[in-house]
């Protein structure tokens, strides 16, 4: 990936937003959010490649696809929650960012419940009655 481009973009956006913040703070916030989204969109192509590879590996080894799907969903939720929380934190709304992170954690726990259940059931099966 063109890391140089991304770093240059980050510097540029930082400088532009510093200039803009003196005049219109809201515009500076939107600019940083836009730049963050753009960088994330660039990275998404790479992430897609990794995910496809993981799927192929799971297919070959015969892992239950439900587990892989759950894990991928959890990763997706984590990315989205992190992105939103960072954007909101940039705007200075620390408590709102904390709420978004809390929501992300709760949703991840709820998604992980089936896997945890399976683990506990397996352990119970291994134990002598």
């Amino acid at each position: 990936m063109d890391i140089l481009q991304i770093v240059a973009l980050g510097f540029l956006v930082t400088i532009l937003s510093l200039v803009l913040r003196e005049q219109k703070p809201a515009f500076a916030f939107l600019l940083t959010v836009f730049a963050g989204l753009a960088i994330f969109l660039m990275l998404l192509e790479q992430i897609r490649f990794v995910v496809r590879t993981l799927e192929q590996l799971a297919d070959q080894t015969g892992v239950n696809t439900a587990y892989l799907k759950t894990i991928l969903k959890i990763i997706g939720v984590a990315y989205i929650a992190e992105l939103g929380a960072q954007a909101v934190r940039d705007a200075g709304q620390e408590s709102m960012a904390a709420k978004i992170e809390l929501a992300g954690k709760m949703i991840i726990i709820v998604m992980a419940v089936p896997i945890i259940t399976v683990i506990v059931e397996t352990v119970l099966k291994l134990l002598p009655a």
Partner: protein
């Protein structure tokens, strides 16, 4: 690079120009017009951001959530 980097410069440019127009209109004594201009500029930029956000969410959904 699939994302238009020009859009970032567009947003920064819109912000600076809106700030200039705001100052000029304020100097002319048209406070309410100045505020309208700021609001409209803000909505335009917000629209760009929301469209990109929608694109990002669609892609994340396609990759992680539903395959």
């Amino acid at each position: 690079m699939n994302v238009d980097v020009n859009a970032i410069f567009q947003i920064a440019g819109i912000g600076i120009i809106i700030a200039m127009i705001h100052t000029v209109l304020k100097q002319m004594g048209k406070e309410d017009m100045a505020h309208w201009v700021t609001l409209i500029g803000f909505v335009v930029v917000l629209f760009m951001v929301v469209r990109l956000l929608d694109r990002l969410f669609e892609q994340i959904k396609a990759i992680f959530l539903f395959q």
